[in-house]
């Protein structure tokens, strides 16, 4: 069955912070029928189950202020996740966006036509512009190739938070948290809210990613998870320490945090070009993907930035989408790829935009595979240096840092890839 066919002006896939913000902005700009599809029963995305603070706070100081200030301020500023989600939903609906929950996009039936399934049946929806805002998820144990037994008691933070905050489920008695990024500390907070004793937080990094500490939880650095034990229930997490020592932490619960990947399935099913670094769609400063009329926003692009940043990207996509609807969009296909050399991990956006467009906040975001104390970032194209910039702080894995974008005007549109190197 092919289902009912409909047309809308803008179709947004995903009602998390980015999708809702895009919907609110475009509906307010009277872009015609703006429809947001959300496969969950409730809109709001990941913040729905993040019962800690830090959402949408005073991010106005600078778009990326949190990147350097994330440490101690992490959980205190702004509002809670559920509150942030509710505000995002309310703003989109108030602006006039049609928000439909419990509707899943199951595939493509044309360049800007999607197939959907919902309790009311099947549909084919064709849009003048499609915005992908499908978000990101944490890699599960299997994708991290953690060997051992497969007992119950193994969670990602996303599953843990939903179990505790949305369903009130029993978790266990003693837990180990793997990963020390902010999301790991959020996992500790959730475990404590569920009455679970947190034995330790472990990270394979030799130095903590952040100054952030969860009180009364020992942080074991330089410790790699080598296996899980237990049959009917998890009984322990085996670790190998830097000096070769091995230990097993006894626990009935382990939470694997961080290691986010974009949920790029729909993008890939649509044969949209991905960036090899981010594994999200390759995109330019106008949030355009390789498929004309299909835009991408939020953590689908670069897993994972904070909700406020995703929402900001959602708002930023409105202008290029309005250009698309008005027929005044810049020509496609002119963008140069931005590629990074290791140990840099990725850059976003990773294409140059139309007419020298700059990314939001006039900054590119980067991540690194390893710690780089005050690196010198060099941008070049075909052997020609376009820009050099000394970072004033240490770049660490798991945390974004930024690169000024004022060199974009100097990119040769007929040249090859633009390279970003850290010296």
């Amino acid at each position: 069955m092919t289902g009912e066919a409909r047309e809308v002006d803008v179709l947004i896939v995903g009602a998390g912070p980015a999708g809702l913000a895009a919907g609110a902005e475009l509906a307010a700009a009277t872009a015609g029928r703006v429809e947001i599809l959300e496969r969950e029963q409730e809109a709001g995305g990941i913040p729905r189950h993040c019962h800690h603070g830090g959402f949408g706070g005073r991010l106005d100081r600078s778009a990326y202020a949190w990147a350097s200030a994330a440490g101690s301020a992490y959980a205190r500023r702004g509002t809670t996740g559920p509150d942030f989600a509710r505000r995002g939903v309310a703003a989109a609906v108030a602006a006039g966006a049609a928000l439909r929950t419990g509707v899943t996009v199951t595939g493509w039936a044309g360049p800007r036509t999607v197939e959907t399934t919902g309790p009311a049946g099947l549909e084919r929806i064709t849009a003048r512009a499609v915005i992908l805002a499908t978000g990101a998820r944490e890699r599960p144990r299997s994708a991290r190739l953690i060997p051992g037994a497969r007992p119950p008691g193994v969670y990602t933070t996303g599953e843990l938070q939903q179990a505790v905050h949305l369903y009130g489920q029993r978790i266990g008695t003693t837990a180990v948290v793997v990963g020390d990024e902010p999301v790991g500390h959020a996992a500790v907070a959730t475990l404590r809210a569920a009455g679970v004793h947190v034995v330790a937080m472990v990270t394979d990094r030799t130095a903590p990613a952040l100054r952030l500490r969860s009180p009364r939880v020992p942080l074991l650095t330089g410790a790699t998870v080598t296996g899980l034990t237990g049959r009917a229930r998890l009984s322990g997490v085996a670790l190998r320490h830097e000096d070769g020592r091995t230990t097993t932490l006894r626990c009935d619960t382990v939470v694997l945090t961080g290691d986010f990947v974009p949920d790029h399935e729909l993008a890939r099913r649509g044969e949209i070009l991905l960036d090899p670094g981010t594994r999200g769609p390759a995109y330019d400063a106008a949030h355009r993907t390789s498929r004309p009329g299909v835009f991408a926003v939020g953590n689908l692009l670069h897993a994972v930035e904070r909700a406020g940043y995703a929402a900001q990207e959602g708002r930023a996509v409105a202008v290029p989408v309005l250009h698309r609807l008005a027929g005044t969009e810049g020509p496609a296909g002119g963008g140069r790829r931005l590629v990074v050399d290791a140990p840099l991990r990725w850059i976003a956006p990773n294409m140059t935009g139309p007419d020298g467009a700059r990314p939001p906040g006039d900054r590119f975001v980067l991540r690194t595979w390893r710690r780089l104390p005050r690196p010198l970032l060099v941008v070049s194209q075909d052997g020609r240096e376009l820009h050099r910039q000394r970072l004033l702080s240490t770049a660490v894995p798991g945390r974004p840092f930024t690169l000024r974008a004022d060199w974009v005007d100097h990119v040769d549109p007929d040249g090859t890839d633009v390279r970003i190197t850290a010296l």
Partner: protein, 473 residues
């Protein structure tokens, strides 16, 4: 339809007419379930018992899920015959009940001159096994049919009828049909001792005694222990661990066929194969162990598989891994099944059923009935079992989330709970209310695919558990 399925408490009392069974089948894996289903066609009181809380919960749940042609079996062996017969029986049964099967074909890829030179011998062996459709293809045809194959492949033996099948629906279909036809299924029922007398056997189980006139031992990894309880010392089951890696569905276009290595002295080797769920499987390892509970994966095993996989289909390694698991094959040191009847004992031992057991299961079932008859059981005339339709878990066949008519009749089939696997609320409710309901979230996964996808529960884990617990407070 009166269904008797118990999971706790005492078994039916021995003095009750219901309490003495004509036949007890120990082990509710794919083989035990197939035997029970075959017995269900006769007017017999049959018990199917298993130590775990679900059917197919040991060796049967963790294999390579291939419906073999038997082209490479040892000619003349019992295994060769039962695989050949079982393949046709199961293919027909799958078509009838909706067990997903895809005839993708196998290619035995030769990576060096020695392997290339071994292909004619393998083709001749296939002929001796009564399989006549295999042929040798050159490097160019191989490359055209498998464009993502790694460099260096010289040619292949094409086995067009080798198929992939759902390893979970198959034993569930057998057991469901058996139970609906009156077979008693007792789970969480571990056999601790067996005593034989003139009239039959008394089994001492973890849930009390069970009496049966005839006994079938289909206990898989533990078949040797049951056999010893009956006074035999014929075979020893040495668990042979096979670790497997399941790649994301986005990898599926990389692999068209079951890609087998040319078997060498080290055994059958590592294969790359599509699954009926739309994933790609890499494995298995082959590790001789002495621990029948060692179903964990190891760092070395995963590393070895990734090395082999990189050679076979290099692009596979860039894809996300959805699952890593390990299964134990019941190796007995003899390259054949160990199926033996004992006339004086009213007993049939079904041991050493290795990875071909899924394919051979229905033929083993028939063979066991014949042996039971030979040792004195009068099964009477067989009758047809009521038809059965299983929920489809296969990606290549219509699934509820794309069925407009089904959704129009019940919106629960349009309500997706597990997004990665596109499993609907309707399917989960059906599984929880089915003849043999799951007793764990993993059991629910094997009946619906829920929580078995790329996110492994990041999105749906809590919701699926809530649905499961709602049904079983």
């Amino acid at each position: 339809m009166t269904v008797t399925l118990t999971t706790a408490g005492p078994l039916p009392p021995l003095d009750d007419a219901e309490g003495t069974y004509d036949v007890a089948v120990v082990g509710a894996g794919v083989v035990g379930a197939a035997v029970a289903r075959e017995l269900a066609r006769h007017r017999l009181r049959t018990a199917l018992i298993d130590a775990s809380d679900d059917i197919g919960n040991a060796t049967s749940k963790a294999n390579t899920a291939i419906l073999h042609t038997g082209f490479d079996a040892a000619p003349g062996s019992l295994e060769a015959r039962l695989v050949r017969e079982g393949r046709d029986l199961l293919a027909a049964y799958a078509a009838e009940t909706g067990i997903p099967v895809e005839r993708v074909g196998a290619l035995l890829v030769a990576w060096d001159e020695d392997q290339l030179a071994a292909l004619p011998g393998l083709r001749d062996k296939a002929e001796r096994n009564g399989y006549h459709a295999s042929r040798i293809i050159g490097a160019d045809e191989l490359r055209a049919r498998e464009p993502h194959l790694g460099p260096g492949a010289l040619g292949a033996l094409d086995v067009p009828d080798e198929s992939i099948i759902c390893p979970w629906t198959t034993p569930l279909a057998f057991a469901t049909q058996a139970v609906r036809a009156g077979v008693h299924l007792h789970l969480n029922c571990r056999v601790r001792d067996v005593t034989a007398d003139a009239d039959g056997h008394t089994l001492t189980t973890s849930r009390g005694p069970l009496r049966a006139r005839y006994l079938v031992n289909a206990a898989g990894l533990h078949a040797d222990e049951i056999d010893r309880l009956l006074g035999h010392d014929v075979f020893t089951v040495t668990p042979r661990r096979g670790q497997l890696v399941v790649f994301d569905k986005l990898a599926r276009p990389l692999v068209g066929h079951i890609l087998l290595p040319v078997p060498g002295p080290a055994g059958k080797g590592v294969l790359v194969a599509p699954t009926v769920f739309g994933n790609v499987l890499l494995g298995p390892t082959a590790e001789e162990l002495d621990d029948k509970t060692a179903t964990g994966s190891t760092a070395d095993g995963i590393r070895l598989l990734r090395e082999k996989g990189r050679r076979i289909v290099p692009g596979l390694l860039d894809e996300e891994v959805t699952a890593v698991y390990a299964g134990l094959r019941a190796a007995t040191g003899q390259e054949d099944y160990r199926i033996q009847e004992y006339p004086g004992l009213r007993y049939v031992a079904v041991g050493g059923i290795r990875s071909t057991g899924l394919t051979a299961s229905m033929a083993i079932g028939r063979h066991v009935i014949a042996l039971l008859t030979a040792v004195g059981l009068d099964p009477g005339e067989p009758h047809d079992l009521p038809p059965l339709t299983m929920p489809n878990l296969g990606e290549a066949f219509p699934r509820p989330y794309r069925d407009a008519a089904l959704i129009a009749g019940d919106p629960a089939y349009g309500t997706l709970v597990c997004h990665c696997e596109q499993v609907t609320l309707g399917e989960i409710r059906d599984a929880l209310a089915s003849t043999i309901p799951p007793h764990s979230p993993d059991g629910l996964r094997r009946r619906t695919r829920a929580r078995g996808g790329r996110c492994q529960g990041f999105y749906c884990g809590a919701a699926v558990r809530a649905l499961f617990e709602e049904e079983r407070p």
